[in-house]
């Protein structure tokens, strides 16, 4: 007989795993379906130093603990799957996977997280791992004594630019605006570093090379002038996009494709909640995702409790 879960959580990042911990501990039968890597963006963070109660930890360590906590409370987790169909408007919600497997639950929490934004310009895919990188901590030492470019103007871009100066002979930050979006301390740290220079109001248009990256074509947005810079490496840090492509015609989303929720993490569909980087909010941190996941799980538990009363 087909198993019907109390709660299905779509996504296993900080928000999804936290929701799994709370709902399983509340004795709700809980299934987490995860399309990506368990831990989500948290795993892609090398070091986390601002998660309360934990002095400094690796992103994958924190994700591993959360996963174990959820499993220990009885939460079932299925990862690396592809979802084909969402049937969320019915009282009993159904998720269909690409391989035809179906899962049903009385309530659903959407926690698909976000993904790093890519430039989508010619050469980006071709030179990934051959000069183009998305992680200075991982790949910085391949560029020892070389000249690299950092694309972006937020905290990640400027912090990673400073990290890269430990390896590279020269780091050039290219940013589309005439000001940075990073916190003041990150900007000051980058500006005082003698190895870092800045090219503002400029965007990359194409990556060129032979077997490895050799140059980047950039456009000055003020003048429209194109020029080609010879470089050894490019590090791209231009923010994140919510993983809501498949959901935007099912639940209400805003102009940035973020899911609109109320303070209880309720979406416009009864019994469907959302949490984490996929929702409309200002700050995206592990701590805020954990808070979202907690609220969503408690709201889902309340919803299920009220449904039972109605059914009696």
């Amino acid at each position: 007989m087909e198993e019907i879960f109390d709660l299905m959580i779509l996504g296993a990042g900080a928000a999804g795993l936290t929701a799994g911990i709370y709902s399983s501990r509340a004795r709700l039968s809980t299934l987490i379906l995860n399309e990506g890597v368990i831990g989500g963006q948290m795993v892609l963070t090398n070091e986390i130093a601002n998660y309360p109660g934990v002095a400094t930890t690796k992103g994958y360590t924190l994700a591993g603990i959360m996963k174990k906590q959820a499993k220990d409370f009885g939460c079932r987790i299925i990862s690396n799957i592809k979802i084909k169909e969402y049937r969320l408007n019915d009282t009993l919600k159904t998720i269909v996977l690409e391989d035809g497997l179906k899962f049903r639950a009385r309530a659903v929490i959407l926690a698909p997280g976000g993904k790093p934004r890519t430039l989508n310009i010619p050469g980006e895919n071709l030179y990934k791992g051959a000069g183009i990188s998305y992680c200075a901590t991982c790949d910085g030492d391949f560029f020892t004594g070389k000249e690299v470019v950092v694309i972006g103007g937020g905290n990640s871009a400027l912090e990673e630019a400073v990290t890269l100066t430990s390896y590279a002979s020269k780091v050039t930050v290219i940013h589309q605006f005439n000001h940075f979006q990073a916190f003041e301390h990150a900007i000051k740290e980058a500006e005082k570093n003698m190895k870092i220079s800045f090219i503002m109001e400029t965007e990359p248009r194409e990556f060129k090379g032979n077997k490895v990256l050799g140059s980047v074509v950039i456009e000055n947005l003020a003048t429209g002038k194109l020029s080609e810079m010879k470089i050894d490496g490019v590090f791209i840090f231009i923010g994140y996009l919510p993983n809501t492509d498949a959901l935007k015609n099912i639940v209400i989303t805003n102009e940035r494709n973020e899911i609109v929720v109320d303070t209880d993490m309720k979406t416009n569909i009864p019994g469907v909640f959302a949490a984490g980087d996929c929702i409309e909010k200002k700050y995206r941190q592990v701590a805020t995702a954990v808070a979202d996941g907690t609220i969503a799980a408690l709201s889902a538990a309340e919803y299920l409790h009220n449904q039972k009363k109605i059914n009696i």
Partner: protein, 116 residues
């Protein structure tokens, strides 16, 4: 000495690497660190290990001198992103990729070189 914290068996010496690729028909080795581009690949390998009994999955620490046969392999020349993912068929290196890979990218290589 073990450098990685994963459920996939970690190769610790060049001799062990040589023995594994010579004794097994289909082998995938991911050589990296516990970094954000590497961990997702190890997680995928951990899952594939349960599903693909025809392939042996291993990790290896990039920073050990014992990984020199991987770092210096001609097929990995020009690689500038971790992890290095290597695929061996009957002792011969048939494919190598650099940097993070998703499940589809890995399984398509497994299917192409090792069969479905």
């Amino acid at each position: 000495m073990k450098l990685l914290d994963t459920a996939v068996h970690e190769i610790e010496t060049a001799a062990e690497l040589g023995r594994i690729i010579s004794e097994n028909e289909n082998v995938m080795v991911s050589c990296g660190r516990m970094g954000p581009m590497c961990v997702p690949v190890y997680d995928i390998m951990e899952e594939l290990e349960q599903e693909r009994s025809d392939v042996k999955f291993y990790t290896m620490g990039f920073d050990t001198p014992e990984a020199a046969p991987i770092r210096n392999n001609p097929m990995c020349m020009g690689f500038m992103g971790l992890p290095f993912n290597l695929y061996y068929k009957n002792g011969r290196l048939v494919e190598a990729t650099s940097s993070i890979q998703d499940r589809e990218q890995i399984t398509s290589i497994l299917d192409e070189y090792f069969g479905k």
